[in-house]
Amino acid sequence: METPEVLLLARAQFGLNIGFHILFPSLTIALGWILLYFRIRYARSGDPAWLATYKLWTKVFALSFAMGVVTGITMSFQFGTNWPGFMQKVGNIAGPLLAYEVLTAFFLEATFLGIMLFGMNRVPGWVHIFASAMVALGTTLSAFWILALNSWMQTPAGQVVQGGQIIAGDWWQVLFNPSFPFRFTHMLLASGLTASFVVAGLSAWRLLRAGDDASARVTLRTGLVLAAVLAPLQALVGDQHGLNTLEHQPAKIAAIEAIWKTERSVPLVLLAIPDEDGRRNEFAIEIPRAASLLLRHDADAELKGIDAFAPDTAPVVPVFFAFRAMVGIGMLMLVVAWWGAWATRRGRLPPRWMLWTLSGFTFSGWLATLCGWLVTEIGRQPWLVTGILKTADAVGGASGAQLGASLTGYVITYIAMFLAYMVVLTHLAGKGAHA
């Protein structure tokens, strides 16, 4: 085991990288399918406005995809450089899942992206549509493998120990482990919401800049309707995911709800300042017995508290607040999506203040997604693979100085990349689609 500083730096670096990386897949997974929709609308109508719309959003996609690719390559190396213990312990399970992602998803999306971006005049229309479909399929497959691996790390299943090594006894169980269906659906919906808000928000930005723009009106409506449909679905799936977590990772639920002691008739803490040292909540606003009712569907039911899992408990403060931020942003997104869908009914142009609101919500999906990942990743600590491998036992390889130097390099690069991305995105959106 390495020193606490090395562990902290390794986690900071990996967290920064994975947090920066996830922004782009969470946009491109769903944007790929939205692009396919635009492309098919063009193919069926022959309307150059759809073509212009498709081309504009293809540029946004290409930019985001490139950001995702380059930060993803970085991650594939950091598995080895920052967490050698991870591959030593569970490499026989994690490795093949990562390899399948490369084989089935990366090549598919990267190769067909070339045809999708630059090949429109070189291949027949149906081949181009096929290429667009393969890009969308590739991004979704990629999510499948990564979410399968992440879910297995959260709720391991199907593994056996043979000669001191952990290997897969049943690959089907490894892939479709208990939390996978919920996490995968939750993430796909999160991507749908992220992309639809980006589409709606950037279209609103264009309408603010140009006064009016037929293409931006259509994409605004598309984004809002999609978001209005997906937001309530997400609330439903999120709830089911929570119940699944209660069953398989009760310690995480205790941290999310800041339940310190195991007891019956547990109140639901709406807001509080959890005190990690005193093991209690300050300034708590609670609904009596509501947590028991919500999680067990019985107001008198017992819920396990953090005391039941000591000393292997996650830090409560970040998990507690990140969860509330995620739910809060999600609810706001639902309200904005429904409101916006109503305001744009039958071709209406929403008032300017509403367009400003929508622009402000452009990246709300990113915030909610990041908060969600913070909840699930910090919430499983100190485990890297629940019950099998602790994060502290996986770190190693690099010294604190190496980690610090490279972390500085990454931070500078990421800030520059992010600023440039934002500038180009707003610029592209402000110019709008041109037939």
């Binding site: 050698p84 030593q88 490795g95 490369v102 084989l103 990366f106 971006l117």
Partner: protein, 330 residues
């Protein structure tokens, strides 16, 4: 089925690495040549690699992925020892990847800035890869001499990528730019000769087992074929670029094929020298291999996916065959 799975995966990993070096090598090379061209030529250069660079880099992920997956212990040792050059390479790859996208959308001095970063990123990534190769084949030994050696290999791999990039441009462009590329290719050839010589001299000096393998008569005589073939391929680059310079009949793909041949032969030599070690003189592929259950599960995927992958990669290259045209997004 009684397959030597570690051997199969070592072969696959080697293949992925070679594919990466050749494919991303040419687009990194084109990136490094950017400052030598004028603005309109730069558009053509970028257009010639635009549809491919993304998929090319995926071979790196596959190569390092197979190292990670099939030889997890070696992966930790190798990447741990190469921590900083890996970080430098990744930053380089990130810069050039996004610069490629950004420069298309930028105008004026912004575009110049992204061009600069595209060049710098390409150079940094190439140099770091050469440096890593230098460290890897000397067994990560500490000391000034070894570091200097790795720096030299870094510089010469940049030259090697310039050769690939220049010959790629000979294939994908025409007129003035192609004429320039003919000159660049010859410069690259000189550097690649240095790289091959350095690596060939260093491995037997550093490693007893490599030395024993090389100077084991009469096998040495058969081995002499490798340097001879490298020389022949080098001559092939020189002669074919010469014929193109003099406008004699000569297919424009020949210099690129010859450059690829140099890399393939050098790679074969390296693979022969190192085998069966995955970390030189320290760990063989069988010692480092993952559990057979993991390897078998992956092999199923490889057998199904690899033919498809080759097919659609070939399809993409067919779609974009012929000379590059400016105006990528039009």
């Amino acid at each position: 089925m009684n397959l030597d799975l570690p051997l199969v995966f070592a072969g696959l990993m080697g293949l992925a690495m070679l594919m990466y070096v050749v494919l991303d090598g040419y687009d990194l090379g084109v990136g490094m040549l950017m400052p030598a061209a004028d603005a309109s030529e730069q558009e053509l250069m970028v257009a010639s690699i635009g549809p491919f660079w993304d998929a090319n880099e995926t071979w790196l992920v596959l190569g390092v992925g197979l190292l990670l997956v099939a030889f997890p212990v070696a992966h930790g040792i190798v990447l741990g020892a190469l921590y900083l050059p890996v970080a430098a390479m990744l930053i380089g790859l990130m810069l050039r990847g996004v610069a490629f996208e950004f420069r298309i959308k930028a105008e004026g001095w912004h575009r110049e800035l992204w061009n600069g970063l595209f060049w710098f990123g390409s150079f940094l990534a190439s140099f770091a890869q050469g440096f890593m190769l230098g460290r890897y084949i000397t067994g990560f030994q500490p000391g000034f001499g070894y570091t200097l050696f790795a720096l030299l290999v870094g510089a010469s791999l940049c030259g090697g990528y310039v050769l690939l990039g220049a010959t790629w441009l000979i294939l994908k462009t025409q007129g003035v730019l192609q004429a320039k590329a003919l000159g660049w290719a010859r410069w690259g050839l000189a550097w690649v000769a240095l790289a091959v010589a350095l690596v060939s001299l260093a491995t037997p000096v550093v490693s007893q087992s490599v030395q024993a393998k090389w100077f084991d008569f009469p096998r040495t005589l058969a081995l002499m074929l490798l340097p001879l073939a490298t020389l022949a391929a080098g001559w092939w680059v020189w002669a074919s670029t010469g014929r193109l310079k003099r406008a004699e009949p000569q297919p424009d793909w020949v210099p690129f094929a010859a450059a690829v041949a140099i890399f393939a032969i050098a790679f074969a030599g390296l693979a022969y020298s190192l085998f069966p070690f995955v970390v030189i003189d320290r760990m063989t592929i069988w010692e480092a291999a993952a559990h057979p259950s993991a390897l078998r599960f992956m092999l199923i995927g490889v057998v199904i996916v690899l033919p498809l992958l080759v097919a659609y990669t070939a399809f993409a290259y067919r779609v974009f065959r012929g000379k590059a045209r400016a105006g990528l997004y039009q």
